[in-house]
């Protein structure tokens, strides 16, 4: 594969069989390895799409700084795009984000503003929204930007249809809703009976914080009509499955990928046959400091539960 520059190397990720992890021989499990993108996560797709759309529309001009609230991956992806295209970048990041995420943002030249850990991603969104009132900032805002699901409709979803026309199920993590909305819509156009399943993390009490139930946040781009099921996954189940990916299939993926695998197996157990695509959102590099792969599972899950793994 040849590209003019690093941004041309985004997408077209491998779809590999992970049959050893299927609970039933007649149900085929497939993993789409988004960790193969340049910054190691599927967020490269939406970063390129959102910035290039803003350049076309004139919203993003060279004098403006890109600003984004993020639990890490989107900020890192935007920082790469910003560096490559010559923009300044400011990431608003909850202050329990892993050390690796901070280092990667710095490596690509982004500046960082911290938001309180106990308010999670919702807290980062609040801080970013206040900053964005200053017109010197341009905020792509992944949670509300149609270029996010579009990147997954035109990229992720189309690639799955091309590589696995017989796909019956898509399982992906629910963060902004962009992946499930975009790729799910593309798959359902291909085959209306495709089942789209969201895996949702059960976060630690610290992350849920003492948030009022009235100030929740549903990403505007999430089209809930595309979803057929949504399953909650504990940190322990996610870590256990993340370890199995490495141990039995040699796939080094992030913790949310374990949550997706756990969910896919639960779905597979209820099927006679099928082709289930697991979207593995990122590689494992950014989680090495959590010791997710080593030592006591309970302790690892506990540790992961207190950090931002989504």
């Amino acid at each position: 594969m040849r590209a003019d520059d690093i941004l041309g190397a985004v997408g077209n990720t491998p779809l590999v069989g992970i049959q050893r992890l299927s609970p039933r021989p007649s149900v085929r499990l497939w993993a789409k390895l988004e960790g193969q993108n340049p910054t190691g996560s599927l967020k490269d797709r939406i970063a390129v799409a959102m910035i290039e759309e803003a350049e076309r529309s004139g919203d993003l001009t060279p004098d403006r700084t890109i600003l984004e609230p993020t639990s890490g991956n989107t900020g890192i992806a935007l920082a790469l795009v910003a560096r490559r295209k010559g923009y300044r970048m400011l990431a608003v990041l909850p202050d329990n984000a892993s050390e690796e995420r901070v280092r990667l943002l710095e490596l690509y030249g982004a500046e960082i503003v911290s938001s309180p850990a106990d308010k999670g991603t919702n807290g980062a969104i609040e801080v970013a929204r206040r900053l964005a009132e200053d017109p010197r900032y341009f905020m792509p805002f992944q949670y509300g930007n149609p270029a996010n699901p579009r990147a997954h409709y035109e990229g992720t979803g189309a690639e799955i249809v091309r590589d696995l026309p017989e796909v019956t199920h898509l399982v992906a993590g629910l963060g902004t809703g962009g992946t499930l909305t975009g790729a799910g819509r593309r798959l359902k156009e291909h085959r209306p009976d495709v089942v789209v399943v969201a895996a949702e993390p059960e976060l630690g009490d610290l992350v849920y914080g003492l948030r009022s139930l009235d100030e929740g946040f549903i990403p505007p781009i999430l089209d809930e009509s595309v979803l057929d099921r949504k399953l909650l996954v504990s940190a322990e189940d996610a870590v256990r499955a993340t370890r199995e990916l490495a141990q039995r299939e040699g796939i080094f993926a992030g913790i949310s990928s374990g949550a997706v695998l756990h969910t896919a197996r639960r779905v597979a157990e209820g099927l006679d046959e099928g082709d289930v695509v697991c979207l593995l959102a990122d590689g494992g590099w950014k989680y090495l400091s959590t010791r997710a792969w080593t030592g006591d599972l309970d302790r690892a899950a506990d540790e992961v539960g207190q950090t931002l793994w989504w």
Binding site: E200, R211, L213, D214, E215, G216, L227, L232
Partner: protein, 91 residues
Amino acid sequence: MPVRVKVPSVLRTHTGGEGQVDGDGTTVREVLEDLETRYPGIRARLVTGDGALHRFVNVYVNDEDVRYLGSLETEVGDGDVVSILPAVAGG
């Protein structure tokens, strides 16, 4: 049907600090009504005046989001786990 109910930290003022309580009913709606008899005020935090689930509240039966099952009419069985969580975003 006796079920276990997991209560988020934000609602534990109603349950005397307990993170898990017992509930009873054949549907999620009945379980929440049962909780209300022992933990007054909790139901209004979860269900709107029109009787629908509050927009920013997610309820799960055995980890499956009830919005994609039968919402508040989702059936529960003996020993099921009902989890209540605030909606949060990732990314």
